[in-house]
C-alpha cells in the first residue's frame, strides 16, 4: 500500500491518508490506534502489531466538535475531535491520547464518551523534564501503557519485538533527516510541501512499507531546476496547516532550512537509542527530544532553541505558525516576540486555523513581510 509511492503520490495521500489506512487495516486485519500530538510512543503501539497513526486535524467543516469544545478552544483540538466524530472515526479501533496542554487534559474523557466501544487510553508524560522524578515517571508510564495495550489486545510483547519496532521507526527518521538535508542544500530537489508531506505521512502509515518509498526517493532524487533565489527560513510552531501554506512558501521561493514543528524536526529528533534495554531507551528519548512543552516551563528554552536554529542555519527570518486559540502558543507568543525582536531576528507570525478556506490574507501578509525583508 505505501511501499511504492512516488513524491506526487505522497503529497496527495498526505492530504487525506484515512481511506488508505482503512483499506490497509481491512486488508492486513490489523488494528489502528490514533494518537494526538506529541508524546505517544508509537514504537510501543507498533510492537503490538497495531498501526500507530498521529491524528493531525482536518480542514473539513466542523459539525459536531463545537458542541463539545467552544469556539475559543484550540483549533487543532477541535479539528482532531471533528475528524474522529464525523470523518474518520471508523478508521480507528482505539486511541492513546497524550496530555500535553490544558486543552488536552481530560480531552480523553470527551473522546471516550463520544466514541463508545473503542479503546481509549491516556498517556501522561511529564512536561517538567528537569525534575528528578521525571525519568521514573516516564518509565512507569511506558510500562503502564504496555500493560493497558496487553489487556486490550490480549497479547504480550517481548524486548525483541520492541527492538525491531524501534529500528523501523529510527530508520524512518534517519531517511527523513537525509531527505531534509538534501532539500536544505538544494531546494529545487524537493519542495517544502513535498518534504513536509513525507514527514507527515510517516507519522500515519506503516513505516516498514513507507521506508521503502523513502529509500527509493532518496536514491533517485535530483535537482529539478535552479536552486538560486531561494530565501532560507526557520519554521517555528507546532504544526503548519492547512498544507496549502507550504504552497505559499514554494510560490515565494522560501526554503525551510530548520524548524521546531511536531510535523518536522521534533518528530525526526525522536530517534531512540539502540542497543540497550528498549524501555530505558524509550524513556531516554523523552528527554533527548527537542524542547516541546506547552505547559509548566519557561519560554526561554523555546526562544534559545529558535535563536540557535536561526543562527546555525543562516536563515534570513523565522516564520512562526500560530494556531488560533492554541493556549500554549497564546501564552508564549508575546514573550517570544519580544525576545526575538530584541535579538534583531526578523520574524513573521502566521495566524492559522484548521478550517481556513481562504489563504488570501495569509498570502498577502507573508508576501508583504518578505517584500519588506528582501525588497520587491
Amino acid at each position: 500500500m505505501w511501499e511504492g509511492l512516488d513524491i506526487k503520490e505522497i503529497v496527495e495521500m498526505a492530504k487525506d491518508p484515512y481511506p488508505s489506512i482503512k483499506e490497509w487495516a481491512e486488508r492486513s486485519g490489523k488494528k489502528v490506534v490514533g494518537s494526538t500530538f506529541a508524546d505517544a510512543p508509537e514504537e510501543v503501539i507498533y510492537a503490538f502489531g497495531l498501526l500507530p497513526v498521529t491524528i493531525m486535524g482536518t480542514t473539513k467543516p466542523l459539525k459536531r466538535a463545537p458542541s463539545h469544545l467552544p469556539d475559543n478552544a484550540c483549533s487543532l483540538a477541535r479539528s482532531n475531535l471533528e475528524l474522529v466524530l464525523s470523518y474518520a472515526g471508523d478508521v480507528f479501533h482505539g486511541f492513546v491520547l497524550p496530555q500535553v496542554c490544558d486543552t488536552t487534559q481530560h480531552l480523553s474523557d470527551i473522546w471516550r464518551i463520544n466514541l463508545p466501544g473503542k479503546y481509549v487510553e491516556s498517556y501522561l508524560a511529564p512536561r517538567q523534564v528537569d525534575r528528578p522524578s521525571a525519568r521514573y515517571w516516564v518509565k512507569k508510564e511506558l510500562e503502564r501503557l504496555i500493560d493497558s495495550l496487553s489487556n486490550w489486545t490480549g497479547m504480550k510483547i517481548n524486548d525483541g519485538e520492541l527492538v525491531r519496532s524501534i529500528a523501523i521507526h529510527n530508520e524512518n527518521k534517519a531517511l527523513l533527516k537525509e531527505l531534509y538535508e538534501l532539500k536544505k542544500k538544494n531546494p529545487s530537489s524537493l519542495t517544502n510541501k513535498e518534504l513536509f508531506s513525507m514527514i507527515k505521512l510517516s507519522q500515519q502509515v506503516d513505516k516498514e512499507e513507507f521506508n521503502r518509498s523513502l529509500r527509493r526517493i532518496r536514491d533517485t532524487i535530483k535537482p529539478r531546476g535552479d536552486s538560486d533565489g531561494f530565501t532560507d527560513i526557520v519554521l517555528a510552531g507546532i504544526t503548519c496547516d492547512p498544507p496549502e501554506i507550504y504552497d505559499l512558501f514554494d510560490e515565494i521561493k522560501l526554503n525551510v532550512v530548520g524548524d521546531t514543528l511536531l510535523i518536522g524536526t521534533r518528530y525526526i529528533q525522536g530517534m531512540v537509542p539502540e542497543g540497550g534495554n528498549p524501555i530505558d531507551a524509550l524513556t531516554e528519548r523523552h528527554f533527548k527530544r527537542g524542547f516541546f512543552s506547552p505547559i509548566h516551563d519557561d519560554v526561554f528554552k523555546n526562544f534559545e532553541e529558535m535563536k540557535t536554529i536561526y543562527r546555525e542555519t543562516g536563515a534570513k527570518a523565522i516564520v512562526y505558525v500560530h494556531i488560533e486559540f492554541c493556549e500554549s502558543q497564546e501564552y508564549d507568543l508575546p514573550d517570544l516576540k519580544k525576545m526575538i525582536k530584541k535579538e534583531g531576528i526578523p520574524m513573521h507570525v502566521l495566524d492559522t486555523e484548521y478550517q481556513t478556506l481562504s489563504l488570501s490574507h495569509v498570502r498577502t501578509r507573508l508576501q508583504a513581510f518578505f517584500e519588506s525583508l528582501k525588497g520587491v
Partner: protein, 278 residues
Amino acid sequence: MYFAGIDIGSTMTKVVIYNGGEVTHLIGPTGPEHRRLANRVMEEALNKKGISLDEVEYIVATGYGRINVPFAEKQVTEITCHAKGVWSLIPEARTIIDIGGQDSKAIRINETGKIISFAMNDKCAAGTGRFLEVISEALGIPLNSIGEVSLKAERSTPIGNTCTVFAEQEVISSLASGEKVENLISGIHDAIAARIYALSNKIKIEREIVITGGGAKNIGLIKALEKRFKTTILVPPEPLITGALGAAIIGKEICESSFAKGEIIKRKRRGLSEATFY
C-alpha cells in the same frame, strides 16, 4: 516613459499611469467579475491618458485581486504599495492606516519609506468599510453622506458591540428608542476609530499618521480617529489611489534598476487579456 499600477481592491479597482511626475488615475467598482474586468479598467485608463499599452514600460498589480491580472509584469502586495505610494506623497508619514472595503491595515514605515511592521484586520468586518456600508444601509443614508451627517451630532451614542452584525442590531434598536441618526453615526465612527486604534497600536503608532482607502473620504471618521489618536490625521489628495501609485512607482524603480545594470526588462506578452482561470 510610462509605468502603470493597478490595484484591485475588494470594492474598488484603481489604475494609476505615471511617468515619474504626472499622475493619471482611474477608479471604478471592482464588482464580482473583476478577473474579467481588469483589462477593461486598464484600457479606460490608457484611453484617459491617451496612450497605448505598448507605451507602458512596466505594469505592477496589487490589491487582493493582484494575482488575476494577466498583463501585469509583477504582483506586489498592497501593504508594500501603500507604503511606497504614501511615502512618495508625504515623506513625513510614519504610520499609514488603510481602511479598505473588506479589511483594514496599519503600516509603520521609517524615514526612507521602508516598512518596519504592519498589522491587518481580516476576519472581522468591524473597522472596515463594510461596517460603514452595513450601517448606512440600515439607516437609509447614502454611504458618501454619513460623514457629513455625523458632524451634526450633539453627542456620540456609545455602541457597545463592535461586531458588525450586533452593532447593526444595536443601531436599529437605538433608532426605535428615538435616538438621533447623527448621534448614532457618530457613535459608529467612534467604534471604528477604537478598533483602528487597537489595530494600529500593535505596530506602535508614530506620527505623522496618514489615512488611505475609502474610509479616508469620510470626514466624520477622520474626526473620530483624530479624537482617538489625539493628533491630526493626514489625508492624501486622492486617498484611494495610493496603492496603485505605489505599484506604478515600484514598476519605475524596477525598470531604473534594470537599466542601470544594463539588464533587459522581462515584460509580459502584451495584450489586455482576461484572466483565463476565472
